[in-house]
Amino acid sequence: MAAQDTIRFVPERCDGCGDCMKACSKAKGSASRISVVAGVGQGWEMALCRQCGDPKCVANCPAGALDKHGGTGIVGWSAELCVDCHLCTLGCAYGGIAFDPTAGHVQKCDMCDGAPACVLACGKGALQHLSAAARLHETHADKEDMFVPGLSACQGCNSELLIRHTMRRIGRESIVAAPPGCIPGMGTVGYNGQTGSKVPIFHPLLTNTAAMLGGIKRQYERKGQDVTVVALAGDGGAVDVGFQSLSGAAERGERVLFICVDNEGYMNTGMQASGSTTFGSWTSTTPVGEIGRGKSTDGKYLPQLMMGHGCAYVATASTAFLDDYHAKLEKALAASRAGFAYLHVHAPCPTGWRFPAAMTTEVCRRQVESNFVTLWEFTPADGLRFTRGVERPRPVADYVRMIGKYKHLAPADLERIQASVDRRVETLQGFRRRPAAE
């Protein structure tokens, strides 16, 4: 799906002045398609087309007069095809498409060709023109891609997406460590004298990535040169054999950015279990057989341990929430000038976990929706802050059911996974900084 815009309403900033409605009305020469109404009790509320992903107004149209544009995501209306049955208005729960008596037909927001008049008119910041993909595109499209085309990641792997996004943002004044694993395995460091990257990149050992980066950074600091040194590591190189050097570098406050791309195992070499592999998972070293039922212990949850190191910045991220990731990447980069910054990005592996390659982003989303993966950030001063609420999660079974490596699990196993997910959330909640009043 391509870049798609939406307009966000920030009720705290709205004072009900109505400038947006006047602007819309003027721009469109008809009744305003955005409606600001007094809230229940206090404040202001807004009705406007959300340009839904799966729009019910379109489904309700008998005449083909409404359609969702695959490129812009805008739900368009055709005066020519519309028969004025107004059935579309029954589909909309947002008040986003309504009959306009002065025009004699329904009206809806068309995003003003990418420059919504209402947003431009709002002086309070209560309306924001938002688009995850569009904004990411706008911010990063002009930036240079730092990797060669044709990296050979498995189909459906989100690591390539992640590293391209990351290095586009970081740019050329950087040095990348890609310890043995899927990321160099897809060709980022290259083969036989040829590189896979436009920035300096190297294979550290699986064990020593953070230490090497620390050494590099110290020398550039000594020379007075600002260089971003970044690890694109897997979980093995962070959670298992890489842990000592990671821990040491974090303790020393080496000014580096360490990104752990966690696919919960040694996927590059044939799907063996790692310390990050979660309970119940089938892997080639925790197989399922007459006796074996997959991994018998829980995975090590590294981000929590990194908080314990008092890193300048620690955060978790999911590629289903790239906006969130980019915000955290910004903070991590800033923090890496003062101390150790650690990002833990979850990377469901279609090949090793056994789910269809097309489902990766859905799997990522479901991980988060079920609290199997939580999104948060931590600084020593502010403690832990969830960047996406953990209240009202889906049952973790909704996630587990999507993944082949769990298919042998019994109901009791699911209960155990649910319990450990719940416990982890509870533990993480304890890292939040409480207001002094409490």
Binding site: P62, G64, C85, G95
Partner: protein, 417 residues
């Protein structure tokens, strides 16, 4: 597996079928998906037909889904495939042309067929119905030469057709046995407002009359129960529809008026679902199985059926049917959501205003159960959800009664955050 085997077989190509197909493909990108349509045309909505009659919609611009859409969704559309028998034991359907398809999962979305009252002298060929594109084209052709038209039935299709024919310059009479128009949606006062509009536009509205006999054609002579005699060059019978369940004769699939389904649109027979106008699911307010043949319901049911057929864990079971419709006539605008015609009493409170357009709000225990509006803008979709969620209006009761549009928007906007 033979060529004529589908993992998902959908019978019927209108809204319910189309939504089911899309929902299946959201979850299962691979399984073979075949849609059988008895039509020779690409899928279209019955709702569009009055506009085909009027010429507002061109017959070649009404497809709900074109060939590319089926290709994009890796689905096969088989036209001219009328299913005449379902054999759940063999998991097979038989076609009128002798063809046969087997299936893993079957959706019956066959819709409804015109219900023609038994009237002396009313014989096939002597009147029009309006359920298919071919019906619409026939009416359109005939209207060009006819001078006097009689429309039997004052439901939505009947009124649409009457308006169309009147606008085309015909002398139109509407005959309805119930006391007022659109009786399944609107109360008497609202119906009167609508009926008066038709009369102002020269349509003769004969309400509470029953057709007793018919004779001849062009003109067809009609006799009503009160002795009124009418002559019609064009007689259109749109006195209701009945679910298209003929193909289930002798099958174990349970039917009442329509095919009985549960909250996941499953029939009593494993591997068979039904959705849309053919299905009979529980009503939201009554809790009993009802026929709720509206387009938004077909969409909703089709989506649920498709998700369940594909095993989509995101499925939210059907909450129950709610009567709802919107209606544009002679440039005016009417909406009915829920039990908008409910009489005062038995816990129901009715609040009617007519100052700034007609609005009738029905509350029960400070919760909305129905609302009808004419020439007054309300968000039907929001009202539907206020009913479905049984939203407590106590804190905003007075404001809702005086300003239903803004208050409903505020409630929903707040609720979505």
């Amino acid at each position: 597996m033979t060529d004529a085997h589908a993992k998902y077989l959908i019978v019927g190509a209108s809204h319910a079928g189309r939504e089911a197909l899309a929902a299946i493909r959201m979850h299962d990108p691979e399984g073979r998906l075949v849609m059988l349509s008895r039509e020779k045309h690409l899928p279209y909505s019955p709702t569009i037909l009055p506009y085909v009659v009027s010429g507002r919609s061109a017959p070649d611009h009404i497809a709900l889904a074109k060939a590319e859409w089926f290709a994009d969704n890796r689905a096969e559309l088989v036209l001219g495939a009328r299913v005449v028998e379902v054999d759940p034991t063999a998991r097979a359907v038989r076609l009128a042309d002798g063809g046969r398809w087997t299936y893993d999962r079957l959706l019956l979305a066959t819709g409804a067929e015109p219900a023609v009252p038994r009237v002396e002298g009313l014989e096939r060929g002597g009147y029009h119905v309006l359920r298919t594109l071919d019906d619409a084209l026939a009416v359109r052709t005939h209207a060009a030469s006819a001078r006097r038209a009689v429309v039997l039935g004052a439901g939505l299709v009947g009124l649409h057709a009457a308006e169309t024919l009147a606008e085309a310059g015909l002398d139109v009479t509407v005959v309805e046995m119930r006391p007022h128009v659109l009786a399944e949606y609107f109360d008497a006062r609202a119906a009167a407002l609508i009926g008066e509009t038709f009369e102002r536009h020269g349509v003769r509205m004969l309400m509470g009359r029953r057709l007793e006999r018919a004779a001849g054609s062009e003109p067809c002579r009609l006799g009503l129960d009160d002795g009124t005699e009418l002559e019609a060059d064009l007689l259109l019978v749109v006195a209701g529809v009945r679910p298209a369940t003929d193909l289930l004769a002798g099958s174990p699939v349970a039917t009442d008026k329509g095919i009985l389904v549960d909250q996941r649109m499953r029939t009593n027979v494993e591997g068979i679902w039904a959705a849309g106008d053919v299905a009979q699911a529980n009503g939201f307010l009554s809790g009993r199985p009802i026929i709720n043949g509206t387009l938004p319901e077909a969409v909703e049911q089709g989506r649920i059926a498709g998700m369940d057929m594909a095993g989509d864990a995101d499925l939210v079971p059907y909450g129950g049917g709610i009567a709802l419709n919107t209606y544009g006539f002679f440039g005016r605008h009417a909406v009915a959501v829920g039990a908008a015609a409910t009489a005062e009493g038995d816990g129901a409170e009715v609040h009617t205003t007519e100052g700034n357009g007609y609005c009738r709000i029905v509350l029960k225990d400070d919760r909305l159960i129905g609302l009808a509006a004419i020439d007054r803008v309300v968000d039907a979709g929001i009202l539907w959800r206020l009913i479905q969620r049984r939203t407590d209006l106590t804190p905003v009761r007075d404001r809702f009664l005086s300003h239903p549009l803004e208050t409903a928007r505020a409630l929903m906007s707040q609720g979505w955050r």
